[in-house]
Symmetry: C3
Subunit: 213 residues, 3 copies
């Protein structure tokens, strides 16, 4: 099982590193800025989670594989974009569509991994804490990315992004005892990804108070 | 006494949740963004305080009542604004005036509660730490709110906001041994609220370096 | 030796407090905003480092000398700028040049002091953690300063700032066993400062992906 968790965490790390790198490139940052945004998006949520749980120094410093994977991924994205410049338009809809897929997968993975970490550190009895750190592991990296990139966090004004995370984390947390950890994990993971992607596809939005009212 | 502290903390939570919700609504956020900003404003200062004091996981995860109160308050604000839209103008001076009152009460409450928390965790001998966490409990939620809302924290460029917090925290800390905790708490609380409201009313400002110089 | 570390830390504190104060004054903040930005720039990196290392409450609250030095420095900068207004142009190239020197010295000092702190807290075996907290001690204060001032952190889009920090931290960490702590510290310090200043002087830049491509 822990192998399965490890593999999906690596997938999530790659997905989020790509998403962070693309935002940085769009913002015209140099290679260091791209690296920082890639790595922050990939491991930032986990770092916030570990600070909240009191797991210090955070996991990213004790298992360096996540940071190494994020660094390599980000450098590859930078190189590909660097040598393809002129051939691909980084403002194109296609880039946005891939970004959305990567983001969805990363979100699902980290939400589930986050709830799992709370349990592994002895907080499995605390429902609100477990679900919260699941959600923050999923969306925290993106929030840090957006603050560093100088824009209002996407999660606050667009799409059902965070609701997907909350639903996924809650379903994993509450079905764990019934259907077993493995099944619950896969269920929470797929639910988050599906909700996130459907929301983007159908442009679901949460209610707002109309500006012209 | 701890009942008194609890009651004023709930009042502060409600006041700050309302202030966060209104800022989010003004920024055109959807209901999730409004929720996040309301809850962050209400419990964010306490979370920063607990991280600094090493009280992990932070209190908000161990006493869920604060978060629950913040969620309910924010939802009520959203509903009221949603159904009243067109009838009230959310950019009106009246909204701003109420916002100011809520903000002042929340500030006073959390400053005093923050100093108190430092003492309860065995740091009562450390004057600077105690006063600092008092102030950060009071203004930290608003700073996080403004960062998330993509604007420079109000506390940094307007009004005598933070000075009120520093005076209130210091007076509570230093009068505690003379007049007793209860009296010192009420004194610090009222002083912070009064200074904050007078500053807004009379448009007191701290010295600046003139732009045209 | 610890005297030497202490003296360079005080120099770094003064340098960063000045840099934070000048950014705040340029942003038209009042005296409190200037104070917060000065102090945050000076001790913010160390606070992030201590949170990551689990050294709580952070050092700044247990050795108040750093905060006191930062407060006094910031107030002096404010007073000088206040009484000289009209005589100096705070947007002038000369101010920028001094700012750069202060920033370089602060960076070198804090990078080395940060790596040192990791060692003193028993993490000297963890290379990535040691170098990371060195770099974050050096650049964290400036990142917080820029977030609070409402601009994209300078370190993310300009100059070889962070590369200087990474090189300096790595050289100090890896030469420590060969040439002794003192010599390694001075080497890392000078290397960071020199790289940072050369980068500014020759306008070295890291590769970017061209906007018009």
């Amino acid at each position: 099982m822990s192998n399965f968790v490890f593999i999906i965490e690596i997938i999530g790390t790659i997905a989020f590193a790509i998403s962070g790198a693309i935002v940085a490139i769009k913002k015209n940052m140099d290679i260091f800025g791209v690296l920082v945004l890639g790595v922050t998006t990939a491991v930032g949520g986990g770092m916030i989670r570990d600070i909240i749980l009191g797991v210090l120094p955070p996991t990213m410093f004790r298992k360096s594989v996540y940071v190494i994977v994020a660094v390599i991924t980000t450098l590859l994205v930078f190189l590909v974009m660097y040598f393809l410049q002129g051939k691909i338009n980084r403002y194109s809809k296609r880039v946005d569509r891939y970004l959305n897929i990567f983001d969805s997968v990363g979100l699902g993975v980290f939400v589930v991994a986050g709830v799992n970490t709370a349990g592994n550190n002895g907080f499995s009895e605390m429902a609100f804490l477990s679900i919260f750190v699941g959600v923050i592991t999923g969306i925290g990296g993106g929030i840090l990315r957006d603050i560093l990139a100088g824009r209002i966090p996407v999660v606050l004004h667009k799409q059902v992004y965070a609701v997907a995370a909350i639903v996924g984390a809650s379903v994993y947390y509450y079905t764990c005892d019934w259907i077993g950890t493995n099944a619950a994990m896969i269920l929470g993971l797929l639910l988050t990804i599906t909700l996130r992607m459907l929301a983007t596809y159908f442009e679901w939005n949460l209610p707002k108070i109309d500006d012209k009212a």
